[in-house]
């Protein structure tokens, strides 16, 4: 593949992390109508890393992709404003699960032939934390999940991964799939002029149906509910009172 690298970055439109979502009165799903939507925070880290690789001359082209409805174009604009060269909307009105998203992205990867696919390690809405690993499996690529450093060296992505009790370093042969942790970098702030410029860049739309694969859900949502409530907090006046309560009431101290 030579030294010239194309990068594909998957970005997802999610409810903004500052918003507390509510449940529909019938408990059938969460109410998303009118909620402020943003790019998934982890995907900003993926975009940032892609731009840094381009700025140091390792990458030549950065392509952002999202799977969703036309409304998801706003996260592609965000990616373009961060510096992506091109953006693709894989348009689908279906409720997609990670396996379905991975299957659609696989076909796009086969068309675009990037050397590296970057995804967020998890999305903050559904929190499944699996799309990248699934995509790597379907492509039969190596994977680097939950990465906090990245260097491209001799046709490999050398990454630090966050694991229990510390970190590990692995080298993944290119082409590869990587998923990003928040600690990978500090995403750049998108300036208004860049956002205005991004509005003029074209977004390519591909109908996911055109790919002709079955992405129907494997899971049925039975219901959604509030988490189990905690009982009200008892305020104590001092450390002695706290120790006394922990001992005699909560019985967590000897």
């Amino acid at each position: 593949m030579g030294d010239l690298m194309k990068l594909l970055v998957a970005v997802k439109r999610v409810v903004d992390y500052n918003i507390k979502v509510h449940i529909k009165p019938d408990g059938s799903n969460v109410e998303l109508a009118g909620a402020r939507m943003s790019i998934n925070p982890f995907d900003e880290n993926a975009m940032e890393e892609a731009m840094r690789l381009k700025e140091i001359g390792v990458a030549t082209e950065v392509v952002a992709v999202t799977v969703g409805t036309a409304a998801a174009q706003d996260v592609l604009r965000h990616a373009l404003a961060m510096g992506a060269d091109r953006a693709i909307l894989l348009e689908s009105a279906d409720v997609l699960e990670p396996l379905g998203v991975a299957k659609l992205l696989k076909i796009l990867v086969e068309r675009e032939q990037p050397s590296l696919v970057l995804l967020g390690k998890q999305s903050i809405d559904d929190d499944t934390c699996q799309t990248g690993q699934m995509l790597a499996a379907l492509l039969d690529y190596g994977q680097g999940a939950f990465i906090s450093t990245l260097n491209i060296e001799n046709g490999e992505a050398v990454v630090t991964r966050e694991i229990e009790g510390g970190t590990e370093k692995i080298a993944v042969a290119l082409p590869a799939v990587l998923t990003t942790d928040l600690r990978l970098n500090e995403p750049r702030y998108v300036k208004l002029p860049n956002l205005m410029m991004a509005k003029k860049k074209p977004i390519q739309t591909i109908s996911a149906a055109e790919f002709g694969i079955d992405v129907s859900p494997r899971l049925a949502l039975v219901k959604v509910a509030d988490p189990p409530a905690r009982k009200a907090c008892a305020m104590v006046n001092n450390v002695q009172e706290l120790v006394e309560k922990l001992r005699s009431e909560a019985r967590v101290l000897p």
């Binding site: 992390y17 507390k20 979502v21 969460v30 990670p98 396996l99 390690k121 998890q122 903050i124 809405d125 929190d127 499944t128 934390c129 699996q130 799309t131 690993q133 699934m134 499996a137 190596g142 994977q143 999940a145 939950f146 906090s148 490999e156 991964r161 966050e162 694991i163 229990e164 009790g165 510390g166 970190t167 590990e168 370093k169 692995i170 080298a171 993944v172 042969a173 590869a176 859900p217 494997r218 899971l219 049925a220 949502l221 039975v222 959604v224 509910a225 509030d226 988490p227 905690r230 907090c233 008892a234 305020m235 104590v236 001092n238 450390v239 706290l242 309560k245 909560a250 967590v252 000897p254």
Partner: protein
């Protein structure tokens, strides 16, 4: 059909999550097999064989599996997987790395971070930073599930299951393990500790983090945890971050010191039995999560608490 549990181990010791998974697996009323992947597995295999409810322990040993890679472990699971109706792992960094890869190769969706098994294919899992609990039913022929292990009691010990050795498939040619950094600590493992003392950015420095919290942790024989802000500021190592993007804990006692209580943090400790919050701001949202609250300066309250304990 049977249940396959992907076991985690470290330094030849089985992790406590394995006994929790074995207990959770009993709801399927099927034979339970435990899969161990690594090098030099004898001691961990003995540990797994002793767990009540385990029918066999399957060991895949090879030098290149000393530090198992997702590619290799997923291949092993897929090689065995079609004989199983359920494949379980803990929702840990290891489980989350491996199981989605195996699920995709088996062409099934994975159900992640399950906190309750309501029926053999019906699961409860938190979404939206733990603000919502979703009940989902899987239609897949093989159930691939990661469990929040701390939500399940441990199975008893006192069994002597058979131990079977399986030949390893060839090593992945795509990924190489290079090195690791393990943060050394004599404290209990965070994910399974029964007491956790956790600190925020308010500690102000790595030195304070250690000098204020370590004596309390020592008296309580607790693990230490931290907020993302404390980790990002360099006060605490990354592997003790608690929250949506860190470790999820469910101790008997959780002491939150100078922590504001952002949902991304509380998502990682909301299962704790008793929560104590020490914060000088009476409006801090951590008090909504707490059983006992103390409005105080942490630099005075924590040493006083340490001194008051035997």
């Amino acid at each position: 059909m049977s249940v396959l549990i992907l076991a985690e181990h470290e330094n030849q010791k089985l992790k406590p999550s394995v006994a929790q998974l074995v207990n959770a697996a009993q709801c399927w009323k099927q034979t339970v097999h435990v899969l161990l992947v690594g090098n030099d597995l004898a001691a961990a295999a003995q540990g797994a064989a002793a767990i009540t409810g385990v029918a066999s322990v399957m060991c895949v040993e090879a030098p290149h599996l000393q530090h198992p890679l997702a590619e290799d472990v997923a291949n092993i699971i897929v090689g065995m997987g079609r004989e199983y109706s359920v494949i379980l792992a803990a929702h840990s960094a290891f489980g989350r790395n491996v199981l989605p890869r195996a699920a995709a190769l088996l062409d099934v969706e994975m159900v992640g971070n399950v906190v309750e098994i309501q029926a053999p294919a019906t699961y409860v899992r938190p979404i939206y930073v733990g603000n919502v609990f979703a009940t989902v039913r899987s239609k897949d022929p093989i159930q691939v599930v990661t469990l929040r292990a701390s939500r399940f009691d441990m199975a008893d010990i006192g069994n002597n299951a058979e131990i079977v050795n399986l030949a390893p498939p060839p090593a992945s040619a795509k990924t190489r393990w290079l090195s690791e950094i393990r943060n050394q600590s004599d404290r209990p493992e965070l994910g399974s500790a029964s007491v956790v003392v956790s600190g925020g950015r308010s500690l102000g420095s790595a030195e304070n983090f250690e000098s204020v919290l370590a004596p309390l942790a020592a008296k309580l024989h607790s693990a230490l945890g931290a907020t993302r802000s404390a980790v990002d500021a360099g006060f605490a190592p990354n592997d003790i971050q608690i929250g949506q993007t860190g470790t999820v804990v469910a101790p008997e006692l959780y002491i939150a010191v100078g922590i504001s209580g952002a949902v991304q943090h509380t998502a990682g400790m909301q299962d704790s039995k008793i929560v104590v919050a020490i914060n000088h701001d009476p409006d801090a949202s951590i008090f909504q999560m707490a059983d006992y609250g103390l409005i105080a300066d942490l630099f005075e309250a924590v040493p006083a608490l340490t001194a008051a304990l035997p």
